[in-house]
């Protein structure tokens, strides 16, 4: 902290640090010495220290109060299991909450794509959903590919249209599974997740998208800060986005074309 024996001048941050006991021993002594020479400031800060303590004391009984049963984790887990039995709406609701505010609030930045307001909601959701779930090593999907028929049946049912899980094996991507999400307008949305040769993730996001202004041609979108990119298109009232992180644009487009072809061929959508 010293340059040629000349300590850094005491600043407001030092004084706050002094109040909160965040200073190292040496700096603390330096601030104490400075306060001894600056009586007015010392008086102010000692008053603040007293108030800081008063605040802590007056909230002490709140801290010591017994925790009500309804706030026990075990209790909340039981309630959660019961409500899960009611169906999968809840998963969708939680996921929607996540996409809207949760992780974005925690990270303070970055989850909702920059300029998301200008981005078509379906595409912004696809990028965010990719970012959230592709990074999740423990539980990337809600229903695994082993139950592909069940997965496709479930998602078809929820989206109200027969779906297919595109076969991307020729391009080196195998289906991991999928999950149901809630789109911005409350429409159910599906995310299918694939793993590439190096386990890198690729997602296909789809939901009803009746907003005009887009045709069947491919468009490119990205979250620049995160390196998540997507090709997307809208076909007969349904929006699709194929998203990946750090994947070559050419390769991503090839995957998107394959998805588009398979969807068109199956006539399922």
């Amino acid at each position: 902290m010293t340059v040629n024996g000349d300590p850094l001048p005491v600043g407001e941050d030092d004084l706050q640090g002094w109040l909160d006991g965040h200073l190292g021993q040496e700096r603390h002594a330096r601030v104490e010495a400075w306060l001894a020479e600056n009586a007015d400031t010392a008086t102010r800060f000692r008053a603040m220290a007293t108030q800081r303590q008063a605040l802590r004391s007056s909230l002490g009984e709140r801290y010591a109060a017994p925790v009500p049963a309804r706030l026990r984790v075990a209790h909340l887990l039981t309630a959660r299991r019961q409500s899960r039995l009611h169906g999968l709406h809840r998963i969708a609701a939680v996921a929607a909450w996540l996409l809207i505010g949760g992780v974005a609030g925690w990270a303070g930045h970055g989850l909702v794509p920059q300029g998301a307001t200008a981005m078509r909601p379906m595409v912004a959701e696809a990028l965010s959903a990719h970012r959230v779930f592709a990074a999740d090593a423990a539980r990337p999907v809600e229903v695994a590919a082993a139950q592909e028929a069940q997965l496709v049946g479930w998602l078809s049912n929820r989206l109200g249209r027969p779906l297919v899980a595109p076969d991307l094996a020729p391009l080196g991507y195998s289906l991991l599974g999928g999950r149901l999400l809630a789109g911005a307008a409350g429409d159910p949305a599906a995310q299918l997740m694939y793993a590439g040769p190096g386990a890198e993730r690729l997602t296909v996001y789809l939901r009803a998208d009746r907003a005009g202004g887009a045709g069947t041609e491919f468009r490119f979108a990205e979250m620049p800060a995160q390196g998540v990119t997507a090709f997307w298109w809208v076909d007969r009232g349904f929006g699709f986005a194929v998203a990946a992180e750090g994947l070559e644009r050419v390769m991503l487009q090839r995957v998107a074309e394959s998805v588009h072809r398979q969807v068109a061929r199956s006539q399922a959508l």
């Binding site: 965040h22 603040m48 605040l55 109060a65 984790v73 539980r139």
Partner: protein, 181 residues
Amino acid sequence: MGGGEPAMAALIEPHIPALRRFAWALLRDTTAADDLVQDCLERAIARWHLRRQDADAKAWLFAILHNLFRMGRRSASRRGQAMPLDEEGWMVADPTAEHVAEHRLIWRDALLALDALAEEQRVVLLLVGVEDFSYEAAAQLTGVPVGTVMSRLSRGRERLRRLIAGDSAPDTGKPQLRRVK
């Protein structure tokens, strides 16, 4: 990592008293505060598998609670609802308390004076001064730069000091009694 539900409970449970204290200090209503904490815990449980493995559980829980608190505030103000009144209801109980000398008495209670601060200042004073978060953690948790945390802390504490000292300082004007119905 894993460890399942017992491990999750073991990481969450120790922070519940502090979450309740923080929520109560913000809302001043035990039921509303516990509702907020319950909301926070439900979301934490649902999102547990999404938590960064290296993230501090306490900071993560506080971030969720703070976020919910702000979201609740926004929707409450959109509906034009009054903020929750103090349990003590002191302003309602004593309409003659408009006299400045009376105010000075009231401000002597740090907890009541805290209410006169801007919400952002109150949050930072509680996170740093009561919940013992570092400035960096408080910044990350509230989604603002550290410099902003420092200035909110510095201004909030100075304002609190003046209120309690009964110092009718020019920069604060007269004490604003924000929760009078």
